[in-house]
């Protein structure tokens, strides 16, 4: 005779040890409890769950357990509403080779009855769940990471070659607030690379033009248009409102200004620069990794540093480098992976090569070194004067 549901439960009880909430609660509170897998449905999980537990709906248990618990000998505690679904789930895990699986007796209901702490998650709306579903599926992002992005604020300096793709993808990714600093207007010659703008918006401020594109792509993103140039008087207020700054500026005074202001406001700076077929990218984490001046203590004179307007740039190079910046900004905001902090990535589109150089903190750095006297200066004058007094030690 085929076994009934009751038979299955009885057999499972023989095989799987059960743990009372009172046995495990002190360990959970101390942060050294087992890895708790909650196998209920999403609607149930959203109402509340054991603190620190991981949600894998029963139907996805077999496919997702490997990423959540790669170690088969790890202590696992399975929970559901009353302890029955979790019991059968525990049998499945044991059959998959997990050696240390137990079941939470009485499930979440008994846990809650005993007044043990319950975590009620902030949750995405159904529309957000659908929009960001491909992010939520990634273990490193998940619903928690997506919520973090939605709470994050990214400031883009320039809505041009680098800022266009970076802003577009950051908006698509659901970075909740995007600030765009640009005093320039869209010109026809921008459209070969500045893909967030359109032909019918020629003459419109770049921030406003980008805002229109972002609103059409993702109305859930708050766009702050700052239609002016970043300067000594506004940079600190501006940066302190944001969690990360993406540098897509087109000139050295602005880049050195941002580098110093990022240190002063402790804002991570995601750097990229481009010319012709070549791009540079790095991440400067204030006082944790090197800063821009550790890498480039002084700007080159104008003839060694032509702008894209003078020397040209391959349009698609902006897409590659701007999206490397967007990638790094997302990693910085989520706190995942290894960023380019401490490395300069050089992309040569003509040879299709990526080269990495090591960048180290300079103990004598005039901006972030221990003896630095960091204050905002007249960067225009400093950058213009440097070529003529090379060994004057700049004007730190």
């Amino acid at each position: 005779m085929s076994p009934s549901y009751q038979d299955l439960l009885a057999a499972a009880r023989e095989a799987i040890p059960e743990v009372e909430p009172s046995d495990v609660a002190p360990r959970v509170e101390a942060g050294d409890g087992p890895l708790i897998i909650d196998v209920r449905e999403t609607g149930e999980w959203d109402q509340g769950h054991l603190p620190g537990s991981v949600h894998i709906p029963r139907g996805f248990l077999e496919s997702r357990i490997g990423t959540v618990a790669p170690d088969h000998d790890r202590e696992l505690l399975i929970s559901c509403a009353s302890g029955q679904r979790s019991l059968l789930a525990a049998v499945t895990l044991r059959d998959m080779g997990f050696t240390n699986v137990s079941n939470l007796a009485g499930g979440f209901a008994r846990w809650k009855q005993n007044n043990y702490p319950v975590q009620v998650p902030r949750i995405l709306t159904p529309a957000q769940r659908s929009r960001y579903s491909r992010h939520i599926l990634i273990p490193e992002v998940g619903e928690e990471g997506q919520l973090k992005l939605l709470d994050s604020k990214a400031l883009l300096i320039g809505a041009g070659g680098l800022g266009s793709p970076a802003a577009y993808y950051l908006a698509a990714a659901g970075v909740g607030t995007i600030g765009l600093v640009d005093d320039d207007v869209v010109d026809e010659s921008n459209l070969q690379r500045q893909i967030i703008h359109t032909t019918d918006r020629v003459g419109v401020n770049k921030g406003e033009s980008a805002e229109e594109a972002i609103r059409a792509l993702n109305p859930g993103v708050q766009v702050n248009v700052h239609p002016f140039r970043v300067n000594r008087d506004n940079v600190l207020d501006l940066l302190s409102e944001y969690d990360v700054v993406v540098d897509g500026a087109d000139n050295f005074p602005t880049r050195y200004l941002l580098a110093d202001a990022a240190l002063m406001t402790n804002t991570p700076l995601v750097h990229a620069s481009i010319l012709r077929f070549e791009g540079h990218a790095s991440v400067f984490q204030p006082y944790d990794g090197p800063c821009y001046r550790c890498l480039f203590p002084e700007p080159p004179p104008p003839d060694l540093a032509p702008s894209c307007g003078e020397a040209g740039v391959l349009g698609v190079l902006c897409g590659v480098m701007g999206n490397i910046q967007a990638t790094e900004a997302i990693k910085v905001l989520l706190g995942i992976g290894d960023t380019l902090s401490g490395r300069l990535l050089i992309y040569d589109a003509l040879g299709m090569t990526f080269t990495e150089l090591k960048v180290r903190r300079d103990p004598d750095c005039p901006s972030c070194g221990p003896n630095a006297d960091l204050q905002l200066r007249d960067y225009e004058a400093w950058c213009a004067g440097v070529g003529s007094h090379d060994h004057a030690g700049a004007t730190a």
Partner: protein, 92 residues
């Protein structure tokens, strides 16, 4: 012969090449040989006294030569010397 990687802003000075092979057993000798072969490069990266400008970064393989032995850093046949000035381009 070591390989010297030429940044975009100096390529015109070396006839458009992206890399140039030159001899020399230290980074300083390699750059000296490069500047002897292509005087226009020297005009851009060297001071009147023949020293490297402070705004020119030089890497030997993936390491900043300032943190090695600067111009005395030994360079062999398999090594790459990269001249790296900062670039500003981004928005326009």
């Amino acid at each position: 012969m070591s390989t010297v990687k030429i940044p975009p802003v100096l390529r015109q000075a070396v006839g458009g090449e992206r890399t140039v092979e030159v001899g020399g057993s230290t980074m300083g000798e390699v750059l000296e040989a490069l500047c002897a072969q292509y005087p226009a490069v020297g005009g851009q990266i060297l001071t009147a006294d023949g020293e490297l400008h402070k705004y020119v970064n030089v890497y030997v393989n993936d390491e900043d030569a300032r943190l090695l032995q600067w111009i005395d850093t030994p360079v062999g046949d398999a090594d790459t010397v990269m001249i790296l000035p900062a670039m500003a381009g981004g928005a326009r």
